[in-house]
Point group: C2
Chain length 108, copies 2
C-alpha cells in the first residue's frame, strides 16, 4: 500500500470513526428528524453538557453536521443525510453476525 493510498484510507477512516460511538450515532439519528440545540440533545442523551458538546464538535469537524448560533443557543443539524444509510447496513451486519454465531454453534 503506497503512501497516497494510505492517506486516502486514513481520510475515510476519520469520517467513519466520527460515527463509531453510541452517543454520536444517537445524536445523528435525532438530528435526522430536525435541528436541535445542544441543551435539548444533552437532556435526551442524559450526559454532561460538555461531553455532548465535544461529540457534536467532533461530528462537525468530520463534516457530518453543521451548527448555527441563534441568540444564546447553538442549533445543530444533519449536513449529510446519507450517513443514515449506515443504519440499514448495520442491521444487515447484525443479522449476519447472528447467523454466523448460529453456524458456529451447530458446527461446534
Amino acid at each position: 500500500m503506497d503512501r497516497k493510498t494510505r492517506t486516502r484510507y486514513e481520510a475515510r477512516a476519520r469520517i467513519i470513526k466520527a460515527m463509531a460511538h453510541p452517543t454520536r450515532l444517537f445524536l445523528v439519528d435525532q438530528l435526522s428528524q430536525r435541528e436541535r440545540c445542544v441543551c435539548e440533545l444533552t437532556e435526551m442523551v442524559g450526559a454532561d453538557i460538555s461531553t455532548v458538546s465535544k461529540h457534536l464538535s467532533l461530528l462537525k469537524a468530520a463534516g457530518i453536521v453543521t451548527d448555527e448560533k441563534r441568540g444564546t443557543q447553538v442549533f445543530y443539524s444533519l449536513r449529510v443525510p446519507c450517513v443514515l444509510r449506515f443504519f440499514d447496513c448495520v442491521g444487515a451486519v447484525m443479522t449476519s453476525l447472528a447467523e454466523e454465531e448460529r453456524e458456529a454453534l451447530l458446527a461446534g
Copy 2:
C-alpha cells in the same frame, strides 16, 4: 436515553467501529473483489502478519467478513457487501467537509 436504547446504539457502534480504521477499510475494499488469504493481504498492506490477522479477526467478530481454512492457508471474504456503500457516503461527507471549510474561509 433509556437502557434499551443505549444498548441498541452500542451494538450499532461496535459494528461501525470495526470499519473505523484505515487498514480495515483497505481490507474490506480488497475483499470486495474476491476472497484472499491472510498472506496475500499482509503483503498488500505491508504490515506485520500478526497485525493483519488481528484486524481480520476483528472484522470477523463484527460479522463483516468470514474465513475459511483451506490447507495451511485461511481465506477471508466479504460477508456483507453493503458495507461498500459506506465508501460512497464517505465521499459525500468529504465533499461536504471541503465545502464547510471554504465557507469558513469566506466568512472569516
